[in-house]
């Protein structure tokens, strides 16, 4: 069960969200781990999303079923043009896509039983001209 793929598919499958994001290559600027060096944060560029590696991945089992309890962040970054409204709107959309929406998630080899979100909250950046937000997903995935 690949939680990153599940998250990526949910994000890219929402046209409301992807319309708010920058494009990179042939698709929306949704990256894994970090934004590539060729992606530039500058005035006029829409925000991007980064699916972080899981911060926690624990066994979650019953006597007869196996599953995983995964905690994973989705971070959003934007050029600081004096307002975080665009980025905040994106992160609220991300929350809507995942919070209490386990049935809407596709999981290869399993199914989502619980999907909960905390945030969005501020996310630190190493670049002063870039602002960041993050939501934390708590996913319980059951192997099928």
């Amino acid at each position: 069960m690949n939680s990153t793929a599940t998250i990526y598919n949910r994000l890219t499958g929402d046209t409301t969200l992807t319309a708010l994001l920058a494009t990179y290559g042939s698709g929306p600027a949704i990256f894994n781990e970090r934004a590539p060096d060729a992606f530039e944060f500058k005035a006029g560029t829409k925000p991007c999303l980064i699916i972080a590696a899981p911060s926690s991945d624990l066994a979650l089992e019953t006597f007869t079923e196996v599953g995983r309890l995964i905690q994973q962040d989705i971070r959003g970054y934007a050029f600081d043009n004096g307002s975080s409204a665009a980025l905040d709107g994106i992160m609220r959309r991300v929350r809507t896509l995942f919070h209490n929406q386990p049935d809407a998630l596709s999981v290869t080899g399993g199914k989502a039983v619980i999907s909960r979100v905390t945030g969005p909250v501020g996310s630190p950046t190493s670049e002063p001209s870039v602002i960041g937000r993050r939501v934390t997903l708590r996913l319980e995935l059951q192997q099928t």
């Binding site: 089992e61 019953t62 006597f63 007869t64 196996v66 039983v113 909960r116």
Partner: protein
């Protein structure tokens, strides 16, 4: 050496004749199988001075208790709810290891189900099974 519970232990409910057992899904823990101690004091003048002696009386089989995730529509969980409502006993088996070569404890009980549901948690049921006779332990079949 210890044995991990997950994958080794199953709580099963039986049906049909001869009885066939199927695992109840969503069970997260299981406790029980004991019996209440019942020692009857039989101390008399012949007992060694300064001591007591006892005979064993009838013992009450202790209830089995389990918690399980509620899985709506599951055939075997629904059988529990039906028996609970009708106050009729079902056959149960606690299986240790494989159905061939393992050990089993079998008994009959009326399932008693209690809901536990916190708004941000999982829908859970607590299951209590009070055997109508002392459970039987033997080789799994």
């Amino acid at each position: 050496m210890a044995t991990l519970v997950q994958g080794f232990l199953k709580l099963q409910v039986g049906s049909g004749s001869p009885t066939t057992y199927n695992s109840i899904p969503g069970v997260t823990n299981l406790n029980g199988g004991g019996a209440s101690e019942n020692r009857i004091d039989s101390t008399d003048f012949d007992t060694t001075p300064g001591t007591r002696e006892y005979i064993n009386g009838p013992r009450e089989p202790s209830p089995w208790t389990a918690d399980m995730h509620y899985e709506q529509g599951d055939t075997y969980q629904e059988a529990l709810f039906t028996a609970h409502a009708a106050n009729t006993p079902l056959p149960f088996r606690v299986l240790f290891g494989a159905s061939s070569g393992g050990k089993q404890v079998t008994f009959q009980a009326v399932p008693n189900l209690t809901l536990g549901a916190a708004v941000d948690g999982k829908t859970m049921y607590s299951l209590s099974l009070s055997p109508i006779a002392m459970p039987t332990r033997g080789n799994a079949s």
